[in-house]
């Protein structure tokens, strides 16, 4: 009895800080916030959303202020920066102001649906995982809005990465994840890459440091607004990061 009592006290004090880095997401931001509120207010989890806007010229911050007024400053926290400074530093910046002991990172372009957040949390609690990653590649996960070429590149890159790095996670370049706060801090400290391959390095470092990883299948609906990005330079970046991690981890 005493044990279960203290366990529920611990879980009660858990708090989840959702980091939302934004750049020109004026259209999407109100909707992603609305969805987060909808799915997390239905659960009992304590949470906050930290919006890190990198000086978007389209007025994302102005919309964020309206949302803060609407939903309250205990739920919506604004931590803008002057200019675009990259994803890794956005997470560090957001984390410095996070009051939760867990950090959730996700994209704000609606490709990551907030309805999966309670699933991430439940899976983490059940197994005490150090991190939980969304996966597009396993049991019921998937994508929408990708043509054959995009799918082929994605599957090919995933096959080669699994072969060379054996990462114990099926989705390396995805960025919908839940971390214990101190674990995320250590991972960011040990990462060297920039840009989108940063996500891949994070999960490889997690394997290297023997952290436990859980996976939740997600449906990835590719950019409802705006255009999707996968060009030659992304592929070169990916190949470089893959070889770097192959030789050093």
């Amino acid at each position: 009895m005493a044990l279960s009592g203290s366990y529920s006290e611990i879980t009660k004090s858990d708090k989840y800080s959702i980091l939302l880095p934004t750049y020109n997401e004026r259209e999407n931001l109100p909707i992603i916030i609305w969805l987060i509120i909808k799915y997390l207010d239905n659960s009992d989890f304590d949470y906050e959303v930290i919006i890190i806007d990198d000086g978007s010229p389209d007025g994302t911050l102005e919309v964020a202020k309206q949302l803060q007024k609407l939903y309250g400053s205990n739920k919506i926290v604004l931590r803008p920066r002057e200019k675009k400074l990259g994803l890794g530093t956005a997470y560090i910046h957001g984390m410095q102001h996070a009051t939760g002991n867990f950090i959730i990172i996700m994209d704000s372009d609606l490709s990551h649906h907030p309805k999966y957040i309670p699933k991430f949390i439940e899976l983490q609690k059940k197994h005490d995982y150090d991190l939980v990653s969304g996966t597009r590649y396993k049991d019921g996960g998937g994508v929408y809005g990708w043509d054959f070429k995009r799918k082929l590149i994605s599957r090919g890159a995933n096959f080669i990465t699994q072969l060379l790095l054996r990462p114990r996670a099926s989705d390396l370049t995805g960025s919908f994840r839940l971390y214990k706060k101190d674990i995320l801090q250590k991972l960011i400290d040990s990462c060297v890459s920039k840009g989108y391959v940063f996500q891949m390095e994070m999960i490889i470092r997690a394997r290297q440091l023997d952290y436990t990883i859980g996976e939740v299948p997600i449906s990835f609906v590719d950019r409802v607004y705006g255009e999707s990005k996968l060009g030659g330079s992304e592929i070169v970046q990916f190949a470089k990061a893959l070889l770097y991690l192959f030789a050093t981890t």
Binding site: V63, Q66, G142, L152
Partner: protein, 92 residues
Amino acid sequence: MTKLLEWISVTSAVLAVWYSLVGGYVKHKFIEDNMNLILFSPIIFVVLFGLYAVTVVLYRTFTFNDCKDEAEKLMAEIEEAKKDLQDKGLRW
């Protein structure tokens, strides 16, 4: 040990065994009878693995789950969100 070193050590161990057979360091009737096969076995292995890789990648590409339902549900939720936020006085 890094993944690169793991690959180098396993590959060199396998190639050492192969070389000892091809170079005639190990003598056995079976080896002599199948010398051609043994000689080309690394190439055969690489080709077979390549075929396996291509098959797996193509299979996974064709069976990549298209979340059409999820996309439609999201669209409906976006409309609902827009309406609700407008009713609450948000202008953007």
